[in-house]
């Protein structure tokens, strides 16, 4: 039936590649996402292990998993969980700023890697891209155009949030810049005064020294 056909098509879609990279046994790879607050992030990953007999990368065995750790801008851990060889992690940011997503494999069996590397396919969706439109369409019984409008509204929402965040960032940037300027100015004045004071002190000290030694 059509449903089965779509199911198969989706299986095909899920084996389509996103970006991938290689990770070693004890290696930890971290990615930084700078996002405004109240933004949802969904990360999908898929691991593959090199099969020496078939000489290609095959989906990893069940025993191999990835440990995912997410830190918020204040270095507080907001997600720390272990997932299987294929997994999906979700979190929502509550403070705007740089969130750090770190992945490392939890394998303690060295033979599994056998000197090779684990191939990790990773895809991180931010904000509106994280929405599952199929689910929304089915739940609210929307037509295609209605769904599209919903998507556009979410997109604009996201853009507006991002701009607000940028405005806040720019304010901090301006504060840092003014602080630097002040310090440079203040330091120049203080330096001049110190130099003059040192000069005066040196002259007076040496003068009294020479007078004491009866050289002057």
């Amino acid at each position: 039936s059509a449903a089965a056909g779509i199911f198969l098509l989706n299986i095909f879609y899920s084996s389509v590649s996103s970006l991938y990279f290689h990770i070693g046994e004890t290696e930890k790879k971290c990615f930084i996402e700078e996002i405004p607050d109240e933004t949802m992030i969904i990360g999908n990953y898929r691991t593959q292990l090199y099969d020496k007999q078939k000489e290609e990368y095959m989906p990893a065995t069940q025993g191999l998993g990835m440990f995912v750790e997410v830190k918020d801008p204040d270095d507080k851990v907001i997600l720390s969980r272990q997932y299987g060889s294929e997994g999906r992690f979700t979190f929502t940011s509550h403070t705007p700023g740089e969130h750090q997503i770190c992945l490392h494999s939890n394998s303690s069996k060295f033979s599994l890697f056998a000197g090779g590397m684990l191939r990790v396919h990773l895809d991180i969706q931010v904000g509106e891209h994280a929405n599952n439109y199929a689910e929304i369409a089915a739940k609210d019984k929307l037509t295609e155009l209605q769904l599209r409008v919903r998507q556009l509204v979410e997109q604009v929402d996201q853009i507006q949030k991002e701009q607000n965040y940028q405005r806040y960032r720019e304010e901090r940037f301006r504060q840092t810049s003014e602080s630097t300027n002040q310090r440079v100015l203040w330091w120049s004045i203080v330096q001049t005064l110190i130099l003059v004071a040192i000069g005066i002190w040196q002259m007076r000290h040496l003068k009294s020294f020479f007078e004491a030694k009866k050289l002057v």
Binding site: A137, L142, F173, T176
Partner: protein, 225 residues
Amino acid sequence: MTSSAQLYLMGCLILTVGLGLDMGPNQNMEFTFMLPTGGTECFYQTATTGDTMEIEYQVIAGSGLDVGFALISPSGQRVVSEFRTSDGIHMVDRTEFGDYRLCFDNSFSKMSEKMVFFKVVINSQDNTSGGQEEWIDFTVTESVADYRIEEIRRTMDSVYRHLEKTRQVQAVLRAFEARDRYLLEDNLWRVSFWSCLNLMVMLGVAVTQTYTLRRLFDNTKRVCT
């Protein structure tokens, strides 16, 4: 098939679509990562024949703000090779079938790690016809006539594409701003540090000068008599 079984299958399908990685007519992936001192990081991207691939990268933090970049095609040919640049945009007009390799190289730096932002946009040539989204099968059918819908749909698709482009531009601007911010904070720290050092050096020199001069005359007096 009973309605409950259909509902169950629908649930499975939704879950599968949710788990499946995005494959629309336009794939956009962006990552920001830390490149360790003296290290190299490589990322791989699979492409089919005839796609266009756009790669943009920018160094956000790290002294010198530069990395080496190399793009290697599936056949092993070095398409792009840059040494110590701070940002770049590259387009591959007709991609080959296979995995493209993007490598960021920080091996020339012995002291600082770099934060690199990069994004890869793939325009698939096969699906340029209005971009059939994967949720089309889950939507209810429209009740208004098709020919009127078509125009509205075209306009909205175009708005969607423009908004996507807006977001991508925003991401690039955000990367620029982040880079400038790190640079500024670095400058602030440097100004403070060198000011303090300067102060201590000045005082040290003044004191040393004075006491050296005094010692000079003490010695001379002893020598003379």
